[in-house]
Amino acid sequence: MIGPALRHLGRVLGLLACWAVWLLLGGLLAVQIYIAAHHEMAVPQPLLTALQSRLSFAGLKADFGRTRFDPTGRILMEDVRLRFAGFEDPVLVARVVSTRLRPLALLAGRVEAREIRISGLSLRVPAMFSPSGTADEIVSDADADLVPRDGWIRLPFFSAKAGGVAIAGSGAILVPAVPAARAPAAAVAPALARRYAKLAQAAASWLAAIGTVESPVVRLRIESNADHSLGVEAIVDADAVRIPGGARIQADRVRATARWRFRSDPAAPVQIDFEADRLNLPGIARVRGVLGSVEVQPLADGAWPARVRSVSLAARSMAGDGIPVLAPYGEFDVSHYPAVTGSVAGLVWDQPFAASGSANVVGRSADLRFAARIDRQAREFLETHRMKGISNYLDWSEPIAAEGECRFGAGGHFADAWARVAIRGLVARTVRIDEAGGRVSFDGRNLLAERAFARMGSDVAAGTFGQDRQGNYRFLLRGRLRPLDIAPWIAGGWWPAFFGNFGFPTVPPTADIDLRGNWTDGGTHSQIFLNVDAPDTRIEGLGFDEVTGRLFVRPQFVDALEFRARRGAGEAAGSFSRSFNLDVGDWEQLNLKVASTLDPGPALALLGPEASAAIAGIEFQAAPRVEVTGVFTGPGSVAGSHRRLAVLARSDRQLTFHHLPFEGASFVARLNDDDLTIDNAEADVAGGHAVGAGELSGPPNARKLRFNVSLDNLSLPQAISTAAGLAGRTDPASGKSAVGKFIQPKAAVRVNAAASAQGLWGYPYSFHGSGTIDLRGGEIGQLHMLGLLSDLLRFTSLRFTSASAQYIIDGRTIDFPEIAVTGANSAIVAQGTCDMESGNLDIRAKLKPFKESHALPQRFMDLVLTPLANALEVRLVGTLAKPDWVFVNGPSNVLRAPGPANGVAPEQ
């Protein structure tokens, strides 16, 4: 009974099971037919709920548009929107999110994605945080493939656009293990929201700024490392980058590469390399081929923006402010920003330039050291950009080597700079300097070259040069220098006018110079103080063995404080000063104080023809000692031309005046304008001594000469010989004087004479005065009354031993009121005149033979001859050139005309 029931029950159950299976299979078949027919299905709500639940942990709320899935496990969600709890605006919108789930995991109740593909994703900044006030997209059109596997998420590719920036990349990220104890969603969500908001704000700002980047492209490579650090390599390319602001800085074809690692060492420096085809810094430089790197140091908490530690820059070329720089490069340590240290180098005008130092970027101060060679092209730059006209006064043929330091004060104001420079082939204001160097400094106002030297051929000078911004300059030099070699430096023409008188044919003079002036004032403020020692010097062509002196010179003034000129055994020393009236264009005053033992002929030739004429006819056996003190004013003087001169001259050796020899001549002459006074003129002449004085005065057309001459104890023979010499009565053949026989027996005769007269200078017949002449000692002459018979009857010979005469100079006539020639036994008494203009003589002479004799025969002869003497009164007539004796009282043939004594015709 139970059996059948059980069997029936079994059949029923089997039938039920069978139907259940059929229903299940039928349902499954229906589902599969549905799936096969529709190709897609809506995502089951529980799955969506599970997903939303997972997102809610992060404080996100997800909204989905259409969601579908297919039997392969692929879920397609369209119009996905994520928003933070409490925000209305979505922060993430994706056009489509496709994920392929692992079916087995799904069967186990786990949602595990095998692949996630996102397309059309955009990240948005909530309106409340947006600078524009609207929910702007900060990332758009993002596509990405994500492949989660074994704790990694591989990113085979991702691409996006962020504010016009195209971003592409790939990578793999190691997902950190989920902590066992999760923080409650309520705690995580606000933090995440805040962080996103902060990030979105920053991103919005960056994107606003990045609008100045043209066609930016970012390539990212993200790789997690085993230590869970995240390595990121970013390469940014842009057609152009413009820095916002008024500077209009632009870089073209820019490429930047950065690599950094997150998490491992937050403070680890990051290096950013960059390059650009061109960088335009308006008003500063145009740079081509820029290459550089920046090392940035994240802040202590790893936050960004980081602090820049160092910057390296290089470029192919740079042209700033007209200065071309090839291959510039620099390295800067900015870790102590704003204090920056670094170095730069490059080829400036094709010459090397290097600098290093420190700077305060904010304060814009800097201390720099530099070494450079400065090409000649710098001159053209200065001419064009800085110092127009510099080409007129500065040039150089070889690069200038300079090494020094430079400082800029706060605000970028130039403080000072100095450099040790070496120059070859320098041309300074047309003066060619072979070589120069020194320490040059500039404080913004004054240029100073210290311990400088310059060589120009055989000229060598060392010292200091300074110049201010007004063009005032000063040379303080010692060395050997020909003044005319630097003549172009001193404008106005006075320099060559003065120093052109000097020549230094063999060696330049040694000098210690203080030269000041102004480059722009035409030389008016020029002045020089110099001490000079010049061997082998020519002054206006006259050679001197050595000239030394100390001079102070201005354009209108020369003051030789002391000078010494040596020529052979002679020497001149003293001082002089001369001023010049530039307005009048003529000299003003000359002060002179000179003591000279120079040969006065050549020396006075230096003073001009007037000075030479003053000593015309004077010849010196040895140079006299002359002391001259004078003050001259010239046409440039307001007082007019005046002369005051005192000359003290003394010649220890013989001098001749028109062949009249003098020994030990000395005189003191004073010239006061046209008045010349000669005092204490003394000389030894003809065995005697001459003393005289004279004065030449009066206006030029009526010059008066007054003189007073005294001859003392002259030797008559010497005087006659001298006179003969002066008269040219020396036998040209023998050289012997024709008066030799005459003077031979009269060696003991001494002559004293004096003359005093005054008259008009240049009018010899205008003189009036008087004089005396007196001959003493020895036999002046003999007269043989009986001719040859007197040799037998010696008492008939008349001998004269003294003569004296007074004369009066009366214009053209010299009046001899009494001429007495006396001897031991006779006398001649004469009187008469001489017309100096015609030379006519009219002198009457009476011979009184034996009148002075006390011996009997002679007394007798006196008695006998007295009548005869009266009859024999003779008269000297004719001319000085041709005197003629005639008897006053008888026929000329009664007695022969009295011949000259001893057969010698009377002389003038």
């Binding site: 078949l29 390319d237 290097a354 103080f529 001490n531 100390r550």
Partner: protein, 623 residues
């Protein structure tokens, strides 16, 4: 029956399951995704290894190698990374504006020819780890300047913007790298130059400095070397000479090699290219060493060498050599010894910490049976000397292996000067040769070195061996508050005062007019801090000064304020010569027991005060 039904149902389910999961691919989700997506390329463009572009007249091929991307067609040369990355990114971000399937197109009676895709104007092949993708670019749309692009599988036609063609049609000179050498200066470890007819030059980095290894071991000019390397790095390819015609003979080539971190680059530079000119310099043909090329060299190209660079490389042994004679750290110098036989040596010693304030001492020879004496040295003069020596540079490298005859000729056999610098335990000694008459340079040689350098003769002026040139020049150092109360100048010949200033005024002296107050102030400044420009050779003599007889006596009284009570006065008297030259005037005083040259400001002040009345000044009417 039940079994049959069951199996039938099971079979049908299985069949359908297989159909659904095994054979059916066109799930609507995937198609929907494709329709929604706008990216033309996906992962296949993310990691390409080769990109080829074929277009009439513009074909090229790029290949990724371990060292980077290279342009392999039409010639082999490193590619411009920026250009390649731009192409890659543009491909990766290539979006269509719309797309349609080829099947739909054909269904509507259109053909590929209608879109120019049967013979595409441009074909882009992207090969990579994800496979090869071929994009065919056809005609421009009739409106909107867009392009038709056929997908790699030929199933879809995308309408894309023209930008992709612009990106792919870069000229070759943008596609290729124009860099000639790529080792940056900071990576460079050595620079090697081989110039025909000259010894090989090798310069290698030594820390922060560079040194010559050949032709002679010597210091290199770090700045000059790095400028040269940087200038080499900045060389750019101007053009390629794909013909070898006119290539210079190997023995006329200059070879330039740079070694960096585990890499080296070599450049062969030939003659100037006739008729070629470039604003940046001389145009020369060149080749890079290229191990991957059968010839070992790259294609021949031209580059512009700046004249400065080319000249430097041609004379590298001279131009890149450090011209500084001494590699001197002046702060490390502890002593200086200057010798010039037969004069006695000048010995200067830096004061050690603890010996007083930083400064220098002049060590005088023993005298009177006592040991050496020391007096304060002129720190400024020592500093100037060290500064001079630090910057002392050769005008010429005379010889690196001088013979005895040359040393004799250059005066080094019996040096004119010997400069010994104490640097801790070592001494750097420099010998200066006796200058030849009228020579514009002198020769120096380090005592332990071979090389002889020509330097300016100023080295002899800068190293005088007179004690007076080194002793402390400060003679009077009154405080700045010290005020000149009175000063009088007396003519020693007459004993009369020439002028006076302040009170009291000596009898007969002319008071200095107010117009000269600035000169009095300058005189006071110079006197308050009286410094000798140079000391005379002997001690003070009241009879004569070193340069001439004393002419003046200058008496002055300074008031030293002490806050109103106990003001002190100090009186000084100087004997003065006339101004003997532009820069020379001597003074002497018993209180210093020396005669000395006064400094220029004091000369100027005294000159104005003594000569001013005589000086007519600038010409009238000329300001």
């Amino acid at each position: 029956m039940r079994t049959k039904v069951t199996f039938v149902l099971l079979f049908l389910n299985l069949l359908l399951f297989l159909f659904i999961f095994r054979f059916e691919r066109a799930w609507r989700t995937e198609r929907s995704e494709q329709e929604v997506r706008h990216r033309v390329l996906g992962a296949e463009a993310a990691d390409p290894t080769e990109i080829s572009v074929t277009a009439p007249g513009e074909s090229y091929q790029l290949q990724r190698r371990p060292a980077g991307w290279r342009l392999t067609q039409p010639f082999d040369w490193p590619a411009n990374p920026a250009a390649v990355d731009r192409i890659r990114t543009d491909l990766q971000l290539l979006d269509d504006e719309t797309s349609f399937s080829v099947r739909d197109m054909q269904a509507s009676g259109q053909t590929l020819a209608d879109y120019g895709l049967d013979h595409p104007a441009m074909t882009v092949t992207v090969a990579g780890t994800a496979g090869t993708t071929i994009l065919r670019i056809g005609n421009v749309t009739k409106i909107g300047q867009r392009l038709y692009l056929l997908s790699s599988d030929g199933a879809r036609i995308h309408v894309v913007g023209r930008g992709i063609v612009d990106s792919l049609s870069l000229p070759l000179d943008r596609l290729r790298s124009d860099a000639v050498l790529t080792i940056p200066v900071y990576e460079a470890r050595s620079l090697n130059l081989l110039v025909p007819g000259q010894p090989r030059v090798r310069i290698q980095r030594d820390g922060n400095h560079w040194s010559f290894e050949t032709p002679v071991p010597a210091r290199a000019d770090t700045s000059a070397v790095e400028i040269a390397i940087n200038a080499l790095d900045r060389l750019r390819v101007r053009s390629f000479e794909l013909s070898e015609a006119g290539a210079p003979a190997a023995n006329r080539e200059e070879r330039i090699s740079l070694e960096g971190n585990n890499r080296a680059e070599t450049l062969y530079v030939g003659d100037r290219v006739a008729g070629a000119s470039d604003a940046e310099g001389e145009v020369r043909s060149a080749q890079r060493a290229d191990p991957t090329s059968p010839s070992g060299r790259s294609a021949r190209f031209t580059a512009a060498f700046p004249p400065g660079l080319w000249g430097t490389l041609g004379r590298a042994a001279v131009e890149l050599r450090d011209r500084h004679i001494l590699d001197l750290d002046t702060s490390a110098v502890s002593s200086i010894e200057l010798s010039a036989p037969p004069a006695s040596d000048v010995v200067l010693r830096r004061l050690e910490p603890g010996e007083g304030p930083p400064g220098w001492q002049l060590v005088l020879p023993p005298e009177g049976g006592r040991g050496p004496r020391t007096i304060a040295a002129d720190a400024a003069a020592v500093r100037r000397l060290l500064d001079f020596l630090e910057r002392l540079s050769a005008t010429r490298f005379a010889s690196d292996a001088p013979t005895d005859a040359e040393r004799e000729k250059w005066g080094l056999a019996q040096p004119e000067r010997r400069i010994a610098l104490g640097l801790g335990r070592v001494t750097a000694t420099l010998e200066v040769g006796r200058p030849a008459p009228d020579s514009t340079e002198v020769y120096v040689q380090a005592a332990n070195g071979l090389s002889v350098f020509a330097v300016p003769p100023e080295i002899l002026r800068e190293t005088p061996v007179s004690e007076g040139d080194w002793r402390d020049r400060q003679l009077i150092a009154l405080p700045a508050s010290a005020r000149l109360e009175a000063v009088s100048l007396f003519d020693l010949a007459t004993g009369k005062a020439i002028w006076a200033w302040g009170t009291p005024i000596p009898a007969g002296a002319a008071p200095v007019p107010a117009s000269r107050d600035s000169d009095i102030a300058a005189l006071a400044d110079g006197w308050r801090s009286l410094k000798a420009l140079r000391f005379g050779p002997s001690s003070f003599s009241a009879a004569d000064g070193p340069g001439g007889p004393w002419k003046y006596r200058l008496d002055g009284t300074f008031l030293l304020p002490a806050g109103g009570k106990g003001d002190a006065r100090t009186t000084h008297s100087l004997l003065l010569t006339s101004r003997l030259g532009g820069t020379e005037q001597w003074a002497g005083a018993a209180e210093f027991d020396c005669a000395f040259q006064i400094e220029q400001p004091l000369i100027d002040a005294l000159w104005t005060l003594t000569y001013g009345d005589r000086d007519p000044g600038a010409p009238n009417g000329r300001p």
